[in-house]
Every structure is written in structure tokens, then in C-alpha cells.
């Protein structure tokens, strides 16, 4: 590939001669952003804002420079059917980064569900609840927004479109284009629309930015290919599932809130809980192998987000987060809240919780990794959105500096090492440094033995008396069924589902329907097994954990074989991370497939 070659192809705007089957299957960009999430959209909006200001300054003769032409040169690809269709999170947004890129976002109609005015932390036992009298500073959410991430992302996509960024929804990047240890771009998905096959494009760029989110397929491939995780801790994850309820309007007493004892729930309120049903009381000292918590966030229009997050490193092979969430909702207090409420949405995602020492090297020739894919998440604050967006801002500034240096005139992939320097000087590093041991201690169990460790960490900005805590890949932590795994109730087998009343306790498949997930059935399954024989070993030793942990019932055990219902998949990718024999391979399906979140 040479410079000349690139010029002629980019100038070729004769799109009409480009019906399917012709030879021109390569498109060139300056910057290609893979994944239409908050990190990449922030990057695109901030970078184009900077360029627009630069160009305006030139016209007003404030500075003497060449204007930057970015028309059709900055593109975002997104595998969901729309921007926001695959975006899900709790979600509480600390607007610190948003204020930097669009200070007047509220006037422009940024879709917030509510502004948090009241927060509580509960410790639950199976019947009672105990409200923490003091809320630690890092969990104070006053002034933060409760958002629906899919709404927020679709709003941000509109802003990016106004800034003339090329938005390509329903396009999945499935393969890295690597040549001479440099990243040249990605190849997009082939489509099988029977009886025809439509081959994908090669999208080439001087910088490819991977903002795919948690456990991104290309991100993992790039980290492996370029050895970016050398001497880093392995990434570990939490799995979160969330339901959105519409509360009964008749029950609302005053101002969109419901009285439950002394507490009210409604817009502007956020509650985090610990304990029941994961582990409670002192028994957790010896038996806590499920750790995590639940949340209740009041949303607009009388809606309530209710979710459960647990560490995927759980030793219990029968871990089923969806089931834990149903169990959680049966708690007397939660039942009261959900009285006569109706579930309207569902979704699941993994959360990278490994912290500072799991962050891989983030740049390489032609590559930059930002957002969740870079493990930027503050597990202490339970928030990653603001860090993802901030990383987008830093990357945008680095790229803008590149534009000013005329880097993009010369079409070879470059290593923007300055991005990591910027990251180290930003509040991202500062926050993540303080929580570098938090998630690991949390995982040990609350209140004991993790509690005291966390206490020490809070007083010493994250120092841990036993040295920095290491992580181990989640899939290695599952224990065989014949070993004790603590609080597992032996009598409650997997098939013995809690009685589903479709009000409080929702069947997994009903929830999958509410995520509106769908995949074209013409394609081959995007989930494959490395070796089917391994599954037999797994049945004996682990009793097929995939049939339990998958939040969308993709896996089913039928006559000593695993059936894969790939059409149910919610793209959380936890199977790729948690299969105890590392036997599951999750590839990208055809674009347009997957959940269609709207309010999640």
C-alpha cells in the first residue's frame, strides 16, 4: 500500500458504480472509531468541536494555520441497529466530562432521567434491612444524573452527526487489518441474506480507536496480537443484569414517589444494597463466594431501574445473576416497592472491575483503546461512564495535536503515545489509583474479611496492608461441583426455578423478550465451542455453568450436549470470560443483530 494508491481511492466518489460485487471494497478514513458508545462519541464530538473552532479562528484571522478538512474522514461504526441499541448501564453519570464537551447539554435536551437528590445504602438480610447512617464520600451522588444509557448514546450520536461525523450504524468490525505490526483498520461483517452473500468492507484508517466497551472482541484481539497486556494483571469482570419497571401510578402518593416505611423511591433517588441474596451476616466469613450488590435508581416517567451486579470470579458453578436478581426482588422491602409494577425492559452487560493494574498499554501503531475496553472503571464509585468519556476527551486532544502536526497528510499508522501521558496526568489515573485494590477486597466478601481491608484503603488512598492485590482470570476461579462453595443452597438445583409470577419474579426468557434481542437466522451461530468433547468433562466436573450464568439462556443442556440458542444473545460476552474450560468463543454476529435497548 502506498500513498498514491490511497489518494485515488479516497477521491473516488462514484458510489453508483459501487454496487455489490464490484472490486472497490476499501474505504479510507483519517480516524476510524469502532463502537458507538459514550467514549467514542465523546471523542468524536470533542475532536470535531476543536477542529471547528480551529477553522473558525483561521477565518477570523486569529491564528495563521491551514484549515483542517475532516469531511468523510472521521467515522464511527456501531454493530447495533441504531446508536444506543446495544448501550446499557445502571446508570449514574457524573457529568464532569460531559460538561467539558457540551456545557449547555441540558438546554440542548440531554435526556436525563433524574438528578440525584437523595441516596441510601442498605445492608439487607433475608427479612430486614439496615440503612447505613453515613454514606462514604465516594458513593455520594448528589448532582449526578440517572440516565438511560441507550437514550443518552442516541442523543450523543445526533450531536456527533450535527458535527459532521460519519455515523455508520449496523456495521460491525469483525477483524483487525494488521500488517507489519501496525494496525491499518478493520474489516466489516459479511452478510448472509439468503440466497446471497454480501462481503464486508475493509475500512482503513491512520488511527483506529477501539471503544468497543467491556471485553470487546477486537480489543481483546489487539491486546493479544500486540502484547499490550504484558506484565499487567489479567482483566476481571462483573456481570450486571438490569430490569426496568414501570411503577404503579395509583400507588404514587406524593411527587412521583412511593412510601416504603421511612424511605421513598422515585425520580431523584438512588439506592445501593449489599448483602441479601448474595451473602449475609457473619456466614460470609467462611462462605462468601458470591459478592456484589444491587441497585435501585429512580427514573423519569415513574420508572425504576433495578439491577444486580456480581463478580464473575464467583467460585459457585451455579452462579446465575438473573436468578439472584429475582431473589433480590422477593425481599419484603423490594416487593413493597414493586407492588403492582410492570416490567418493561431488561438487559445485561459485563463490567471491567480489575482496576488500575489491569489497564493494558493503550496505544500502538495505528491503535488507541479507550473507555470500558481499556478497563477504565472506578469500582469504588461503581462508575465508569465519566472515565470512559474523559478518556475520549484526552484521546481527542491528542489526535487534534496530531492534526496540527499534519500527521494525517502522511498515511501511515502512528503511535499516539502522548495519550497515555495525558491519561496519567488526568483525574482518571488519580481515581483509579485510589481504588486499585477495592474490587479485589470487595470480592473477598463484605463485611468480612473484605470490610476491614476496605476500611484501611479508604484511609490510605487505596493502600493495602498485604500488598497490591492480584487478579486471576474469572474462568479459572470456578470450583468443581464436588467442592464446597459456601452459601450455595444444595437443595435449590438450577432447574428448580423460583416460582415465576411475571410480576415480581420474571422468567429469564420473558426478560430476554423484553430486551428485544434478535439475530438473523440465516447466519451461522456467532458462538462456537472450541471442542465439544470438553463439554462432557465440564458436565461431570462443573455441571455446565454456562447454562446458569448466561443472562439470556443461550446455553441449554440437552442429552449431554450443549445447545446454543445464539439468537437470544445479549452481547454481554460473559460466556467467553467465564466458561471454566475456556471452551466458548464469542465472535461478532452480523451487524444489526443483538438487543435493541431503548430505555435501558
Amino acid at each position: 500500500m502506498n500513498a498514491e494508491n490511497i489518494k485515488t481511492t479516497t477521491d473516488n466518489k462514484d458510489y453508483n458504480s459501487l454496487q455489490y460485487g464490484t472490486q472497490h471494497r476499501t474505504i479510507f478514513f483519517d480516524i476510524l472509531l469502532v463502537g458507538g458508545g459514550p467514549a467514542n462519541l465523546t471523542l468524536a464530538i470533542h475532536l470535531t468541536n476543536l477542529i471547528k473552532k480551529h477553522n473558525a479562528d483561521i477565518i477570523e484571522k486569529k491564528i495563521d494555520a491551514r484549515p483542517i478538512d475532516y469531511e468523510n474522514k472521521i467515522a464511527i461504526i456501531e454493530k447495533g441497529i441504531n446508536f444506543g441499541a446495544h448501550s446499557i448501564s445502571g446508570a449514574i453519570l457524573d457529568p464532569v466530562a460531559l460538561n467539558k464537551i457540551i456545557p449547555e447539554h441540558l438546554q440542548l435536551g440531554f435526556p436525563i432521567e433524574s438528578k440525584i437528590e437523595e441516596e441510601e445504602i442498605w445492608y439487607l438480610t433475608s427479612k430486614y434491612r439496615w440503612k447505613l447512617p453515613v454514606i462514604p464520600r465516594f458513593l455520594k451522588n448528589h448532582g449526578n444524573y440517572v440516565v438511560s444509557l441507550s437514550k443518552m448514546v442516541s442523543w450523543m450520536a445526533k450531536q456527533a452527526e450535527q458535527n459532521d461525523v460519519v455515523l455508520l450504524n449496523e456495521v460491525a468490525g469483525v477483524e483487525l487489518l494488521v500488517k507489519d505490526n501496525q494496525l491499518w483498520g478493520v474489516k466489516t461483517d459479511d452478510r448472509q441474506i439468503s440466497p446471497k452473500h454480501y462481503p464486508g468492507y475493509q475500512l482503513k484508517a491512520q488511527v483506529t480507536i477501539l471503544g468497543e466497551g467491556s471485553a470487546g472482541v477486537l480489543t481483546s484481539a489487539a491486546i493479544k496480537r500486540f502484547g499490550l497486556d504484558h506484565s499487567k494483571n489479567p482483566s476481571v469482570y462483573e456481570l450486571g443484569v438490569k430490569e426496568v419497571y414501570e411503577l404503579n401510578k395509583a400507588d404514587k402518593s406524593d411527587n412521583l414517589s412511593i412510601n416504603i416505611g421511612a424511605s421513598k423511591i422515585g425520580a431523584g433517588k438512588c439506592i445501593h444494597t449489599m448483602g441479601y441474596p448474595l451473602s449475609t451476616g457473619l456466614s460470609s466469613l467462611i462462605t462468601s463466594h458470591k459478592s456484589g450488590g444491587a441497585f435501585l435508581y429512580g427514573m423519569a416517567e415513574n420508572r425504576l431501574a433495578i439491577g444486580m451486579v456480581t463478580h464473575l470470579s464467583c467460585a459457585d458453578p451455579h452462579l446465575d445473576v438473573h436468578r439472584e436478581l429475582q431473589q433480590f426482588k422477593r425481599h419484603p422491602y423490594i416487593q413493597k416497592i414493586l407492588h403492582n409494577a410492570k416490567v418493561v425492559g431488561y438487559g445485561a452487560k459485563t463490567v471491567p472491575c480489575g482496576g488500575l493494574y489491569t489497564i493494558p498499554r493503550l496505544t500502538h501503531n495505528g491503535l488507541m483503546i479507550i473507555g470500558d475496553g481499556a478497563n477504565l472503571l472506578d469500582s469504588r464509585k461503581l462508575k465508569g461512564l465519566h472515565l470512559a468519556m474523559e478518556s475520549g476527551i484526552l484521546a481527542a486532544e491528542e489526535l487534534f495535536a496530531g492534526y496540527l502536526r499534519n500527521d494525517f497528510q502522511n498515511p501511515t499508522p502512528k503511535d499516539y503515545k502522548g495519550f497515555e501521558m495525558r491519561l496519567k496526568q488526568s483525574f482518571i489515573y488519580n481515581e483509579m489509583y485510589k481504588s486499585r485494590n477495592f474490587s479485589q477486597a470487595m470480592k473477598m466478601g463484605i463485611p468480612l474479611p473484605g470490610g476491614p481491608l476496605i476500611g484501611v484503603q479508604l484511609m490510605t488512598k487505596g493502600w493495602n496492608p498485604t500488598g497490591n492485590l492480584k487478579t486471576r482470570p474469572d474462568y479459572q476461579q470456578t470450583r468443581p461441583i464436588n467442592q464446597p462453595v459456601g452459601s450455595r443452597n444444595k437443595n435449590a438445583s438450577v432447574n428448580d426455578a423460583v416460582h415465576c409470577d411475571e410480576k415480581i419474579v420474571i422468567d429469564k426468557l420473558t426478560d430476554v423478550f423484553l430486551s428485544r434481542t434478535t439475530h438473523s437466522e440465516d447466519q451461522n451461530s456467532h458462538i462456537t465451542l472450541k471442542n465439544e468433547e470438553h463439554c462432557k468433562l465440564c458436565f461431570q466436573r462443573y455441571d455446565a455453568p454456562c447454562c446458569c450464568f448466561c443472562p439470556a439462556q443461550v446455553y441449554e443442556k440437552r442429552e449431554k450436549k450443549i445447545t446454543i440458542n445464539f439468537s437470544n444473545c445479549l452481547h454481554c460476552k460473559c460466556c467467553d470470560l467465564k466458561c471454566p474450560l475456556d471452551n466458548i468463543v464469542w465472535r461478532l454476529p452480523e451487524a444489526g443483530g443483538g438487543p435493541q435497548y431503548t430505555i435501558q
Binding site: K13, Y15, N16, L18, Q19, Y20, H24, I27, N72, A75, V166, L167, L168, E170, V171, T188, R191, I193, S194, P195, K196, Y198, Y201, L203, E246, V344, G345, L514, R516, A591, G592, Q596, T598
Partner: protein, 288 residues
């Protein structure tokens, strides 16, 4: 080379219903449902694109009538391979029944052919083929296509799902397969012709990335009532003789019905089969 028109409609997605899709008065709550390209219209577009694949000089124009937001589906059509799109939008077109809609679309087609006779072969804008979906998933009437053909005075082939040959025998001849209840009919027809396409036709190709990049800012003409020289008396609510007396929202409920539950064992399945047989005999569906 053919001049092709595709008639399309933006409809609420009735397949994926979550939440309150119907208002208490029985009308569709469009705000609660995402707006999509009517699936059969998309298949009609694909059939037109297949003609264009074979005769690359052909020109495909997509016409839709609807609110400004309906421009989305025209863009979608451009990204998939159509040459241009026209939005027919005016407040006076609102609340049209099929008669008023087909009149409006006919006027638009006439305008597109330069106000000349759309059928006169000497007119360089003369239309050869009009494709449209059999029916829209919101109204399910399947009337607009045939009415447009009647208005234009051209023949029509309904329920088509495959083009067998086009231009092979004579430039203006096309052979199509029609999907009827339990037979497939092979029809040879003369152009100009209107074709309505069923859901057994091939599915639409995906969006082309290069077209998406370069056509995303293409200006799409919006025509109002004057642009298409339509008479206000025949458009919208005024031009609609249909009166909807009542809409019932039918909710199937098991309450009060005689229900039985059967386990998934061979014995109880036998029992179920027996009961069903008896019922079918009773209603006379199954001869003894």
C-alpha cells in the same frame, strides 16, 4: 434500461411491541413504537434493485407520503441502492384513507414524469415499472397499490415474489411468479406495469457503507400539495370516504375459557390428540 418507481411507507414496528402500543380509544400509539421501513416495501425495493443489477442504467425513484420524519426511509432506500427519493408531505394529506392516498401518489408519479403522460413511451420520463409492497403492517389493507394502477390505467400483477425474466423476449415484457393460496402462478405482462410484492420475495440487501458515507447529506426533495398539483378535495381527510365507526382492541384472555393443562408425556399427548379429534369431528372440519 428501465424507469422504476418504488412506493414505500414508514410504519410503526408492530412486530416488536413492548409497553402501551394501543391507546385506550383503540388507536395506535405511534410514539411508543419505533418507525420502520414497511417490510414488504423493502422487499419491493429489493426486486427493483435486482432489475437494476441486470440493467445498471435503470433508474429507481422511491416515493413515500408521510410526515417529515418519513425522510428516514428514503435515505435508507438510497443507502441500499435507489437513485433518488421523494417525500410527499403536506398537512392536507393527513388522515387519508386508501383512496386519497392512492390519488396523492398517482399525482406524485405524474409529477415525476414531468407532468407529461407517464405512460407515453415517447416521453423520456415515462414510467416502466412501479413496485410496491403488498400491504403495510399498520393498516393491512393491500389496496393502495392496485388503486394506483387503476388511477394510472396500467395493468397490475399482485402478490408477485420473483421476476422470472425481464426484457428477454421483448423489451417491454416481464414474467413474474405470483404467490396465491396454494399455487404459484406464472404471469407474463406488458410494461408499463404495477407490481405488488409479497413477503416471500427475497429480502433486501444491507446498506452499502460507501453509499451511506456519500449520500448521507443528499438533499431529498419534499413536495407539497401544490408541487404535485393535487386537488385538495381529493386529498387527506376531505378526500377520504372511509368512515371508521369504531375500533375494538381485542385482547385474547384465557379467563372464563375452558382450559386444560397437559404434561409432556406420551400418554397425556394421546389424550390431547383424542380431545382435539373429537372437537374437529364435532365442528365437521374432519370427516369421520
Amino acid at each position: 434500461m428501465y424507469k422504476i418507481i418504488v412506493l414505500a411507507k414508514q410504519v410503526p414496528d408492530t412486530k416488536n411491541i413492548i409497553g402501551e402500543a394501543m391507546r385506550p380509544d383503540g388507536t395506535v400509539n405511534r410514539a411508543a413504537l419505533p418507525a420502520i421501513f414497511n417490510p414488504e416495501d423493502l422487499q419491493a425495493l429489493e426486486m427493483a434493485l435486482l432489475v437494476k443489477d441486470r440493467f445498471p442504467q435503470s433508474k429507481i425513484s422511491v416515493i413515500t407520503m408521510g410526515p417529515i420524519a418519513a425522510i428516514e426511509i428514503l435515505r435508507e432506500a438510497l443507502f441500499r441502492g435507489a437513485d433518488d427519493g421523494y417525500l410527499i408531505s403536506d398537512k392536507q394529506f393527513a388522515a387519508a384513507d386508501t383512496l386519497a392516498t392512492s390519488y396523492t401518489l398517482t399525482q406524485a408519479i405524474k409529477t415525476l414524469s414531468g407532468h407529461g403522460d407517464p405512460l407515453e413511451p415517447k416521453n423520456e420520463n415515462a414510467i416502466d415499472l412501479i413496485f410496491c409492497g403488498r400491504q403495510a403492517i399498520d393498516g393491512d389493507t393491500a389496496q393502495v397499490g392496485p388503486q394506483v394502477a387503476a388511477n394510472l390505467g396500467i395493468p397490475q400483477v399482485t402478490y408477485a415474489f420473483e421476476i422470472v425474466d425481464i426484457g428477454d423476449h421483448h423489451k417491454n415484457q416481464i414474467t413474474l411468479k405470483r404467490q396465491l393460496d396454494d399455487v404459484t402462478e406464472l404471469v407474463r405482462a406488458q410494461m408499463p406495469l404495477l407490481i405488488t410484492v409479497t413477503d416471500s420475495a427475497s429480502h433486501a440487501r444491507p446498506r452499502d457503507i460507501r453509499r451511506t458515507i456519500f449520500l448521507r447529506k443528499k438533499k431529498i426533495p419534499v413536495w407539497n400539495i401544490r408541487d404535485i398539483t393535487a386537488s385538495p378535495d381529493r386529498c387527506g381527510l376531505k378526500g377520504s370516504p372511509t368512515n371508521v365507526l369504531k375500533i375494538n382492541s381485542v385482547i385474547l384472555s384465557l379467563e372464563g375459557k375452558n382450559t386444560q393443562t397437559f404434561e409432556a408425556t406420551p400418554q397425556s399427548m394421546d389424550k390431547l390428540a383424542k380431545i382435539l379429534r373429537a372437537e374437529l369431528h364435532q365442528t365437521g372440519t374432519l370427516e369421520r
